[in-house]
């Protein structure tokens, strides 16, 4: 057993971290929070594409570097840590794996190289009415055309292609690739809590939908489990950054003649943040292994990683505001960036209540 990263994986973290630190700053996130015409940080996206980072989970024959889930997890944590404002998560944790696992040669050739090179923005449209697939799907595909509403869809306003969860004529859930630039698609921008990561409502009225064969309800559930693990790494990166920002502030800010970080009321909350983050990290490690090795405990691992990461992320974000006191409730200060991104990452795959039930059902003892 070896429950840590390899030297190569550490090297990936260092290289990706350096690129992200240089190009994704909290100042930059503030600018995009105020004004985000393109929907994402185009410069950073180009640099990640040039560096080959967008193809990390895509096979070499389709223009990627063909690395595994653990390497992708390492990158995910760095993206979370730097609050990178890019359409990465849906594309890399859901769309690319779905196409790799279930796509035809033609579908793979059409999409994967374009994702790896950054030429196409892709997203996954799973949510309906605040729930996530497969249990909540009402969108329908009939005769190759899709009808229905998906909301909220991250990057739905500017993505070229969406992976959409919908029911077929027999009422069975499946996954479909839909060209969002084509006919039968209406996009409506929504007021995203985290405006650095815009959301849209997609209304399909007879748009052509290209089925991923074999992507049934069980496959969707498994894809979502995998994505939950990778998103957990983003959440851990994000929460870790919030803790770092809070710690720095607590060392600088003085009250009653000493840094506030010297008071137990502050330092114990920082310690609790730390403990929650490390607990989530341990579950995420197991999740990364279960995903990379396609282990039978994937569903359990995903739910544990998701639940502890949601808790760590929310606690770290909220306490970061409080530890900053008055400045923490101002728009120009950094703390609300963490809270907003935290809600975005929560919205991607649904709240804890859903995942608690998924966990109980994943346990052998709970499933009877």
């Amino acid at each position: 057993m070896d429950f840590g990263f390899s030297e190569d994986q550490d090297a990936i973290r260092e290289a990706a971290g350096r690129l992200l630190d240089e190009n994704a700053t909290l100042v930059g996130a503030h600018l995009l929070l105020n004004e985000n015409p393109d929907g994402f940080d185009g410069d950073l996206w180009s640099k990640l594409a040039e560096g080959g980072w967008l193809g990390i989970g895509i096979p070499e024959e389709y223009g990627g570097s063909g690395m595994g889930a653990v390497e992708l997890a390492v990158l995910a944590e760095e993206i979370g840590r730097t609050l990178a404002c890019i359409p990465f998560a849906q594309a890399m944790y859901l769309v690319a794996p779905a196409v790799v696992q279930h796509g035809s040669d033609a579908q793979k050739s059409a999409l994967l190289p374009a994702i790896a090179s950054g030429k196409k923005i892709v997203t996954a449209a799973l949510s309906e009415n605040g729930g996530i697939a497969p249990g909540v799907i009402t969108a329908k595909v009939s005769g190759g055309l899709i009808q229905g509403v998906k909301s909220p869809v991250p990057d739905g306003g500017n993505a070229d292609v969406a992976l959409v969860a919908a029911l077929d004529d027999t009422g069975q859930p499946g996954l479909y690739l839909v060209d969002l630039t084509g006919p039968g698609v209406e996009r409506e921008a929504l007021d995203a809590t985290d405006r650095t990561r815009p959301m849209a409502r997609l209304t399909f009225d007879g748009a052509p939908a290209d089925a991923l064969t074999g992507a049934n309800g069980a496959a969707i559930k498994k894809l979502v489990d995998g994505a939950a693990i990778l998103v957990a790494f983003e959440q851990i990166g994000l929460a870790g950054r919030a803790l770092a920002v809070s710690s720095d502030y607590a060392k600088e800010r003085k009250a009653f003649g000493r840094p506030i970080g010297g008071f137990q009321a502050i330092k114990h909350r920082l310690a609790d943040m730390f403990a929650k983050i490390e607990l989530a990290r341990s579950n995420a490690f197991f999740g990364a292994w279960a995903l990379a090795s396609d282990d039978a405990r994937l569903a359990e691992a995903a739910a544990c990683a998701r639940l502890t990461a949601l808790d760590a992320c929310q606690y770290a974000g909220e306490e970061t505001i409080q530890i900053h006191g008055g400045i923490g409730i101002t728009w120009i200060a950094d703390p609300h960036l963490f809270v907003r991104r935290g809600w975005h990452l929560k919205a991607l795959l649904g709240p804890a209540a859903i995942w608690r039930e998924r966990l109980i059902q994943a346990l052998p003892e709970g499933n009877s």
């Binding site: 057993m1 803790l243 607990l279 341990s282 579950n283």
Partner: protein, 408 residues
């Protein structure tokens, strides 16, 4: 990142399992795990000694200990494999934990060559049980406040004072004792560590009844105990450094060894299937499912945290930041889980039905868990350690730091 045994680990596991099959019996269907940290009655202590000897004779007692002291010279990961396998069998409680996990490693660092040669092999073989005479009525979380006084007269020290919360003192033969040797310097600089004979009539151990009803620790009165200077560990007035080594090993033992301790969430699910809530099995209730799911995610996280610690150790690294969270989170989890189990029992939670082992078990768990949050450094101390040593927060204001001990 590989969660499976390597082939070497699998071989080792097979050997361990073969030996355990020949020397112990598997636990029956009951998932009830034993609280292995503290022995509760004299018979268990005798059985524990026999089991320790049996393991030592076969070479399993000190898997990570160097061979020169009777150990196997193995890896921390092999220790984990052993612990996992031994946990599947019905074996006596690990009464020798303080000696093997705390005192032994401390002597390896700070002991004289003679002390190491004389003591370590026997300690491993279960020749007597060790206790840790550190805490005092006025020195718990603030351990450096010890008042037990050791005065030197030539090659002999005379020790007088009182210790408390000493696990197993009433059945221990040996003790590691921290005493004040110089009250004229600040408190951290005037203590010395000694090895003492618990059978000496100058020492009296009185068991303390805990809220769980168990008597696993003691108050210990020391009145004019004579100790040879040969039984001093480390420098005169250098006892704090020795104590820190012991405490570091204690934290590690408590967080690694016990990260999977206590009741399992699987047991809680079992219970929730059998009891009724609002006219249906409790397991069908949404709140019950949610609570159990949260407990499960936390318990798994602690289990995997212990594997992270073991991975650091097996790579030859100091345990990283992950080492500090296990003890902080485990006690609280045990307390909440057992409290919730009692809730599920409804009004039956107010009684312990002697015909129902389960009601006793959850009450015992609930009354034991608070001790988890105190022993080895209270929750508040763990949080200070995380905040100060890992996050770099300013240390607490210590008005006593530069003041001679006698003026405090």
């Amino acid at each position: 990142m590989d969660f499976n045994d390597t082939s070497a680990e699998a071989d080792f596991r097979a050997k361990v399992r073969a030996w355990l099959d020949d020397n112990a019996t598997l636990r029956d269907g009951s998932k009830t795990t034993q609280d292995t940290f503290m022995a509760h009655n004299p018979d268990q202590v005798v059985q524990a000694g026999k089991w320790q000897k049996q393991k030592a004779d076969a070479g399993w007692a000190g898997i990570t200990w160097p061979k020169e002291y009777g150990g196997m010279g193995g890896t921390p990961m092999q220790q984990v494999v052993w612990n996992q396998e031994e946990g599947r069998y019905r074996v006596p409680p690990f009464a020798h934990l303080v000696g093997v996990a705390l005192v032994g490693p401390t002597l390896m660092v700070h002991g004289t060559e003679k002390q190491k040669a004389d003591i370590l092999p026997g300690l491993l073989a279960g020749d007597g049980i060790w206790c840790q005479l550190f805490s005092e009525p006025a020195a718990g979380s603030d351990l450096a406040g010890v008042r037990t006084r050791a005065k030197r007269d030539g090659d002999t020290w005379e020790i007088t004072g009182q210790k408390v919360w000493t696990s197993g003192a009433h059945y221990s033969q040996h003790g590691l004792l921290l005493a004040r040797t110089n009250p004229d310097v600040p408190k951290h600089k005037g203590m010395t560590m000694f090895i003492v004979d618990m059978n000496d009539p100058a020492i009296e151990a009185r068991p303390i009844t805990q809220i769980s009803g168990a008597e696993s620790f003691n108050e210990v009165f020391i009145d004019g105990l004579k100790v040879s200077d040969a039984n001093r560990v480390g420098e005169v007035d250098g006892g704090w450094r020795v104590a820190l080594t012991t405490l570091m090993n204690e934290r590690l033992t408590l967080s690694v060894g016990r990260a999977v301790g206590g009741a399992k969430t699987e047991e809680l699910i079992d219970l929730a299937k059998r009891v009724q809530l609002n006219g249906r099995p409790a397991i069908e209730d949404g709140e019950v499912r949610a609570r159990i799911a949260d407990f499960t995610a936390r318990q798994r996280g602690l289990e995997f945290t212990s594997y992270r610690i073991m991975t650091s150790l097996s790579r030859g690294q100091e345990p990283g930041v992950e080492g500090s969270i296990g003890k902080l989170l485990l006690g609280r989890l045990r307390q909440e889980m057992s409290g919730f189990a009692l809730e599920l029992m409804g009004s039956s939670a107010a009684i312990a039905d002697t015909s129902d082992a389960e009601s006793l078990r959850w009450r015992n768990e609930y009354m034991t868990a608070p001790g988890n949050r105190v022993s080895g450094g209270a929750d508040e101390i763990q949080r200070n350690i995380i905040a100060e040593r890992i996050l770099g927060m300013p240390v607490d204001i210590r008005v006593d730091k530069d003041v001679p001990f006698r003026d405090l």
